[in-house]
Amino acid sequence: MKARGWLVGLALAALVLLPLFVQGTYYRFLGIVVFIYGIVAVGLNILAGYAGQLSLGHAALMAMGAYTTAILTKALAPVAFFAVTGLHIWLGVIAGTAAAAAFGALLAFPALRVRGPYLAMVTIAFGWVIFKVLQEWVSVTGGDLGLAAIPKAQIGPYIFDTQNFYYVVLALFAVALLLQQRLVGSQIGLAIRAMKHSEIAVSSVGINVHRLKVLVFVISAAFAGFGGTLFAHQQNYISPDNFQFFSSVFFLLAVLFGGAGTLLGPAIGAAVLTLLPEMLHDFEKFRLIVYGGFILVTLYFLPNGVMGLLERRGAAPAGGRSARHGVQPDFAATAGASLELDNVSKNFGGLQALRDVSFRVAPGSIHALIGPNGAGKTTLINVIAGFYRTDGGAVLINGQAANISSMHDAARRGVVRTFQTMKLFGDMTVLEHVLIGLACHSGAGFRLLGRVRAREQAARNLAAARELIALVGLSRFEQTPSSALAYGHRRLLEIARALAVQPKVLLLDEPAAGLITEEIASLAEIIRKLRAAGMTVLLIEHHIDLVVSISDRVTVLDYGAVIADGPPAAVQRDERVIAAYLGPAHALA
């Protein structure tokens, strides 16, 4: 990391000094183009690389920026005040960036419903509509002829030509890279990266995924629009042809080529893809074939892009066995809430998954929910945690109707769950998973700049995350990507992430699946600690020994209905429970 910092510094120094050694404006002009495209690519990288939202409409967002500033500055240029101060240029840059950001928010709405290739289609359509509007709305945009005589960038009486604008755009490009780094390293950056892997899990820790998505689109569009404004003031002439579909493809290609989801990827991609065609002039009419072939071959051998190869995860998972009988830290005191289900029903089409389910989970108790596979246990958790709406009945928390509207709403109100089919964040580390869980209450979510308080908060979060990871016994795996964890360890990570949200009611969906006896014993110890701290735990589990040894009360579901409810020993004796679920092996005589 440190070495890379030096390399980036060296590269910047080289870019600053380069113009002193080359003659003419040609190379400076090329540099400006690379930097502008780089800024747009950085924006797309945040959206597509980090957040996993594919866009093929970024040229249109760039156009929004370019046209807004062009129209505005052309209108204001005759005013003497602006001609003297040059303020209209910078007003235009701000307005253009804002206009693109607004359209980014608009573009986010389809992304709330569709994803992957469908989202790409929507963004293509968006780009096409903008392109057509630019062509047809002649009175404002100049139609196919475009807008000419756009003022050059200017501060006071000083007007930037290509020679000097090079340095301005270089500085702005460096700022864009820095902003990207800050964003990705922040709490919100963690959430953005997590969203790429599981939106459901992100909302389960109390983050409003819809808002997050709109925010990412706005940020990304702002970068594109900002790049567009610089483009307008550099070229002094823009037309719809500058912002065609192929330009959008170019930006996506630059991101993929350089390495999607890497800090420097978009810079490298934009540089190589801009400069390469210039270097291929010798090939004349075969130029584009060579260009295309080069990209094809590179992506074949470097499927994760140039930086993907260089950044290949150095963080190796720790070796050795899991911490057995290690000292677990205690869990901070929690005010556990009571959870009550009052005649809860849920239907899927004709299938009645839950029928008038009623039972009460006392605050600060461990309550087990058992039943055959397909009895509706996970459906019930989904209802309690706000993933499904009930079709009848109510969920009460501390005696009040909860009316939970969404998963993040549930999490914020202290109802937090783990997932039977685990939903972890792919290549993100164990530590990062738990830090995301802490985002809900730490309030550091939307702070981008490194203020002192934010830094203190980050230090507190780090300490809290480490403690939770130690609690579940994964300390040796802090830097391990979740995808490299063994099955049972992933389950423990799900618990640590949920605990980070500071639940009042914790819903555990088969936490012991895939654990060996010894590991289940430590899990039992953890759950007992949570109860001792005051937390309410609802546990779905098939390891009957675990259920019986730690639960205060057990509810049994079969075909969506409660068939037994009582202390473990009584449930184990129940004939219906033995017939439907336990079988003779686990029956208590």
Partner: protein
């Protein structure tokens, strides 16, 4: 001659070595259990045997053929079938389609009669498969899905099965039927390597067992020997009094947790 022979197997993810020199052999008709805590390298070994993860070093020989560099489909075609961790069914396809994909190497050559015969064997093992044939696999209960996963491997008419964690997420009754099915397969003479966290169940069906710890084999022996080893009792079985072998005990149990 052993059907599967593994010598000095090393498997790594990038720089991290997960399996560090494992050697074992499985004779035809044997059921062998592999025990180990999470992260010990069991699933990694299974994946490597099935060709999903090429080993860094060492030799895997199946039916006399060196398969350490073979792609997964070639290994499957040699008759080594994997029932993967978490079942990995094709959830939107019907049970029949899942099974047809399992029998792909036979159906591709037009051996429908063979497939029909395999189906009959599957019905014998899991009578419920017959009525579930037309349903999407993803809508079945956990136990039934595990039955489909095992059946899908069986209809390829393998010489040997690799079964990774068949008990995952199963309620007690379906869990019992899965292990009863494994006992039936054992009686039929099938060779099986099984990874199972519920050690008492695994030890009930297997002939021999290995304990994998931190990427190396630390214990091996007959099922009875391994079950009696104090380390195994401590880590995998809990106190002996806690465990029963399918029978109802009359005294209230003490629990190991």
């Amino acid at each position: 001659m052993p059907l599967l022979e593994v010598s000095d197997l090393h498997i790594a993810y990038g720089a991290l070595e997960v399996v560090k020199g494992v050697s074992f052999a499985i004779e035809p008709g044997e059921i062998v259990l592999m025990l180990g805590s999470n992260g010990a390298g069991k699933t990694t070994t299974m994946r490597s045997l099935a060709g999903l993860l090429p080993p860094a070093r060492g030799r895997i020989a199946f039916a006399g053929v060196d398969t350490s560099r073979s792609p997964p489909h070639a290994i499957a075609n040699l008759g080594l079938a994997l029932v993967p961790e978490g079942r990995q069914l094709f959830p939107e396809h019907t049970v029949q389609e899942n099974l047809e994909l399992g029998a792909y190497r036979h159906l591709r050559r037009g051996r429908r009669a063979e497939f029909a015969r395999s189906l009959e064997e599957v019905y014998e093992l899991f009578p419920r498969m017959r009525e579930r044939l037309g349903q999407p696999a993803g809508l079945l209960s956990g136990g039934e899905q595990q039955m489909v996963a095992i059946s899908r491997a069986l209809v390829s008419r393998p010489q040997m099965l690799l079964i990774d964690e068949p008990s995952l997420g199963l309620a007690p009754i379906p869990l019992r039927s899965i292990f009863d099915a494994l006992l039936a397969l054992k009686a039929g003479g099938l060779t099986v390597l099984i990874v199972e966290q519920m050690a008492w169940l695994g030890l009930e069906v297997c002939d021999r067992a290995y304990v994998l710890d931190n990427g190396t084999i630390t214990l091996s022996g007959s099922a009875a020997e391994v079950a009696a080893d104090p380390r195994v009792v401590e880590a995998y079985l809990g106190r002996p009094a806690d465990r029963r072998r399918g029978a109802t005990s009359d005294a209230p149990k003490q629990f190991g947790y």
